[in-house]
Symmetry: C2
Subunit: 702 residues, 2 copies
């Protein structure tokens, strides 16, 4: 299918046009006429001769040309025959508004959607919907939208929006700033949301991508979209829903999308530098921020903040600290500009309480902003300007000062006009600010959270990340799984280049004696080897710190007796002999193979750190050493690895290398691996490496 047939159609036919107010057919007909296609918009109605002054064709077959896209405004029962008619005519795209498909609880809807997918496949058609509101293309000025809208075609801002909720797309399109493309994908089984995202990532007219995401279906397309956007440094802003149990249920009944595990999505987002929004308002504000900035990023993560009141200044400082935003001291130039203009008792601190001195001194205010634009210490400037609905002299002075500074300076930095309050902003002020590239974020605390997101995006470097994940190429959902023994699990990860302690399985005491004499150094460990006995310690099947052959032979007997008592029917393969690893810092490395995104690597310090504090890092395989180190640094317990309370630093380097190897192994075996746990791994002092003490590999059976 060619997605451009729906995203950038050169001709369209609205099928089922209507003059009944409030109907899809009425809205879609009116909206279609608003665009630039002119004669390339056709109307189809079985009985009407004309509507809204436009000729109606009785059916799709009668159209004078094979249009790029049909807009089907009719109920679900009519969709399949219409699609077939369009397909036969050679039409490559369709928008389907009707609900009554896979989002319904009954089987009929699901069957209907399946049939729709088949027809689309047969005729190689790109279909947006069903159960959607359609799309708008402001680049070519085409509107295929099934609802009333306040959106006006205007200058392209480069924003591409897509969402699995018509509601959010409608609100984004009416938020008062131009967008280049908007699409509501509805059930999205043919043209999926990730298809649209890839289109945006590749399309030159799109420079900022915003998405409301419930779930995805084609990981390979999603990966490509994320990778392309990351490489082109297009901000990719996502509001992901279905993070909670109830939220996931809501998305399932909404568009039939499975929300997927929230932590997995966040790990994917982390890898590709995706900007994560907290709610709809945040999605809009972040999108607007990147749009207004037009590619200006923060070269440094440092802030300078000017406020007019002490209260504002104190709160600004508090919130910035909370979000990790740093206010360095002003340099001499800035201090000079400040001291020239402030009363003698004011202190040139950052954040600055400019008192009332700057309220009416536009020139002085401008000089300070200019000095900040030229200061090497400062990455971002925030100005406390409380813009409300009405006009206000002080506000106007502040805005004029900031805009004049921007005009007079050759340096570009992100500048924010931060209001302490919520509310709709005066449109004139907003336009003036945005024309000068100055952002007006959300009010209050959220402003600084959004600024922190900008800093994070500015510091993200796609060249340092492996821009891929290892989605499985087969569907393992229905397969049986098998857990390998510790011996086999460890032999398997040898393939990954991981050194494991010497090990052997022996079935008799004679064998044990032979291997101990030939191959092993004491102390050793003996463990029962049996697929039936899961809790070896409980069964009396583990003997640690064995120092001699004699001890070992006795331990062999004790294990056999204890395990037969514990589970008389257990099939016992023998006893696993291993050289015993000295104690080190206990680490857990776990892999879980996500059906959509492939192996996800989890790292944490063993025991309560993972279990009580949930202090773990999650990241998609494969990864490079920088990324593995990044995972470790995200752990609160990381301090324990770098020399805590006088202990020597641990071999973080060896640990990171092991994580890379394990993630490569998991990526390679994406189609067969279900889970892999190295638990515990003992990490030793710097330069002394680590030991994989226990391993468990679970595979899908083919």
């Amino acid at each position: 299918m060619d997605i451009r047939k729906v995203m950038k159609p050169r001709s369209i036919a609205v099928v089922g046009v209507s003059d009944r107010k409030g109907s899809f057919g009425n809205y879609a007909a009116q909206n279609a006429l608003r665009g630039k296609l002119g004669e390339k918009v056709y109307f189809v109605h079985p009985k009407r001769q004309e509507l809204l002054g436009k000729k109606c064709y009785p059916c799709i077959s009668d159209l004078p040309e094979a249009v790029d896209c049909v807009v089907l405004c009719t109920p679900s029962s009519t969709i399949i025959p219409l699609m077939e008619e369009a397909g036969k005519k050679g039409i490559g795209g369709a928008v389907v508004f009707a609900s009554g498909f896979s989002e319904e609880r009954d089987e009929a809807g699901k069957k209907l959607e399946k049939r729709l997918i088949e027809v689309a496949k047969t005729y190689d058609m790109a279909v947006i919907g069903p159960n959607c509101l359609g799309l708008m293309n402001n680049v070519d000025q085409v509107m295929m939208w099934g609802l009333d809208t306040k959106f006006e075609f205007n200058d392209n801002t480069g924003v591409g929006v897509v969402g699995q909720s018509g509601f959010i797309i409608k609100h984004l399109s009416e938020a008062g700033f131009g967008m280049s493309y908007m699409a509501s994908t509805g059930n999205g089984n043919i043209v999926t949301i990730e298809d649209v995202l890839l289109f945006y990532a590749q399309e030159d007219a799109v420079s900022v991508i915003a998405v409301y995401l419930e779930g995805i279906k084609k990981p390979e397309i999603f990966e490509n979209a994320l990778k392309t956007a990351a490489e082109k440094r297009k901000p990719f802003i996502v509001l992901k829903s279905g993070r909670s149990k109830k939220g996931a249920a809501a998305t399932a009944s909404h568009t039939g999308n499975l929300a997927g595990d929230s932590a997995t999505y966040d790990a994917i987002f982390e890898k590709f530098g995706v900007v994560v929004a907290e709610d709809f308002a945040d999605l809009i504000a972040l999108t607007r921020m990147f749009t207004v900035l037009k590619g200006t990023l923060a070269e440094k993560g440092t802030l300078a903040s000017l406020n007019l009141s002490g209260g504002e200044t104190a709160i600004c400082a508090d919130i910035c600290e909370k979000y990790g935003l740093v206010h360095p001291d002003f340099d001499a130039n800035v201090k000079k500009a400040v001291m020239e203009l402030l009363p003698p008792f004011a202190t040139p601190n950052n954040p600055l309480d400019a008192t009332t001195a700057l309220m009416y001194n536009v020139e002085g205010n401008k000089k300070i902003v200019k000095a900040l634009l030229e200061s090497d210490e400062i990455g971002i400037i925030t100005l406390g300007i409380n813009i409300g609905l009405g006009k206000h002299l002080v506000v106007e002075n502040q805005i004029n000062a900031a805009c004049a500074a921007v005009e007079e300076s050759s340096n570009k930095k992100p500048i924010f006009a931060v209001s302490s309050f919520e509310g709709t902003r005066n449109r004139d002020y907003l336009e003036q600010l945005e024309r000068h590239g100055i952002v007006m974020p959300s009010g209050g605390e959220k402003a600084y959270r959004q600024i922190a997101q900008l800093v994070k995006f500015s510091q993200y470097d796609p060249s340092k990340c492996t821009l891929s994940f290892a989605y499985p190429s087969v569907d393992n959902a229905a397969k049986q799984t098998v857990a390998l023994s510790e011996y086999d699990s460890k032999e398997a990860i040898k393939e990954a280049g991981i050194t494991i302690s010497k090990q052997a399985v022996v079935t008799t005491k004679e064998e044990l004696k032979t291997v101990l004499e030939k191959e092993f150094s004491f102390p050793v460990v003996l463990k029962v080897s049996s697929a039936d006995i899961l809790h070896k310690t409980d069964a009396g099947g583990v003997k640690l710190s064995i120092q001699s052959q004699q001890e070992a032979l006795q331990a062999f007997d004790e294990i056999m007796v204890a395990c037969k008592n514990y589970m008389p029917d257990a099939v016992i393969d023998g006893v696993l002999v291993q050289e015993m690893a000295p104690k080190g810092i206990e680490i857990i490395i776990g892999i879980s193979n996500d059906a959509l995104f492939g192996p996800m690597v989890l790292v944490g310090l063993g025991g309560v750190f993972v279990e009580i504090f949930k202090d773990v890092a999650l990241y998609p395989a494969p990864m490079n050493k920088d990324e593995a180190l990044g995972m470790l640094k995200k752990l609160k317990a990381y301090k324990l690895l770098t020399g805590y309370r006088g202990s020597k630093p641990a071999d973080v380097d060896a640990l990171a290398e092991t994580i890379v190897k394990i993630s490569d192994y998991a990526a390679k075996h994406r189609d067969t691996l279900k889970e892999l746990d190295l638990n515990p791994v003992f990490v030793y002092e710097e330069g002394r490496g680590l030991s994989v003490v226990d391993a468990l590999l679970i595979q899908y059976q083919s």
Copy 2:
């Protein structure tokens, strides 16, 4: 001083009235005339005969009566003589706008403020300011305000606002909902912010208290204000600034207030059920919420949420889970109301995606809200209504449905109209909602955070808390401190009723032999007793697990030799002998005596839990057992105390009792105690108590 002279004056004189636009004297004169005092407002000007049609008296002495309060609009240099004149006249209150006092960096301002405080004391005058914007009293309609304001006298809402920033008071007063009192306290060294808070707590006309707080000065007044408000169940909403280092610096240069430790304030707030705001917008929204609710609280913490779109529903569910808000299943009645009105494919889930079915069905929507008002399962109702500036049919339908439900139901519950977006709300809609007691919180995520604050406030029970803290009655700032030895520290806490292991200090081996024979059971511990040796273990001064007399005698010698080698000049008192406590779960109990608020109790699990994860609870002494248990339950590591991974539950009861005893001890010794650390305490299995293994008491020297 009588604070009512400034808060509720029956007569005022504005001194330094002026017709110069933008001056304090001009604003204050105009504002004074707007109130109800009429003839009881006097103007004072040395030369003018009249201003704004009002007679001017040449000086304060010439006033025909001793007014309750003078409003001084003149510069700092004139304030002392004017105050003296007023004092001699018998005037009991003053408002001072001028800056140039203790907020300045130089000594002159600080001296001037000191002088002002002395004069106020001499004449027993209540003074608001200096460096303030004044106050407004909407109950008696008196305005002593030094700036222009859009505030109009109106119906009293019962809100009392006070802040250490004129900026925030100005914005709150113009936020569009009535307030009963507003005060900007400025430097606030005479009438402090806590004096105003106590006035609000006691005043019947005030039912909701909102404060922007940088710091307090009179803990006894603050305690009384908090206690009174808590007992009367008046919501006490605070935005505390100076939480960060930079923020504290900003408050210090702003009004000369020391911000104090943020965690300490939060612990105080916790004890008194204070509602904590995150920023100015949040302070306004929370204040408005409690004002609109007029005392209606959430009987249960459970939510029912109705939204019109699947996207909104999913996001609502996600955010609620994040804030711990629970959506129970609907009961049969609600389900029936929902199923009657929704299309067959909709699911009566909570949160409910009502699809588009309810957009135009006011009657059906109303029935659902009514059913929710009557449902025992539901404490709070949220309705997704996206109110913007303009009018909108769907919004209007939703509002009408909700209001009709409120009118027709005899049940009262908090109801919220939640918008997914930021922005100024349509005034008509807002008024209609608020008239029906329906709250319009902040947009998006913040709405649910505010609802979670309501739930917390609703569940707070003042009768279960010790509504006091143990502020010291002396100033210890300049005093020397002394650290007691372990022996003395432990003997001291015996007074608190805490059982400690048997201990003795011996100076010779003979003494050691005697005490071991008479009093002690093995195993014992020997530790060097010396104020000079702080790190006993490093010095070789600790011997654990001593099982016999012979071992003990040898250990004595070894300790003496090692310590003399370690620090030849150390004065060694002898050796401390203790029965050795068996190992238990390691707990730290620490007390730090805050100069303002008195002893603060810190509890955490030992080692990395405290040091790496900062998993500690802080609470002011004294406390009861419920509060001590509450502290423990706030620890993430609490799970380790209640039986983790098959281990038996620990003696949480004994631990809570020990915390109570220690906090009582600390409260009793508030004037002499500096720090007390029980570290570690070993807690044993349920019923087996605990052992205080080490203790360190630091006292102020008198």
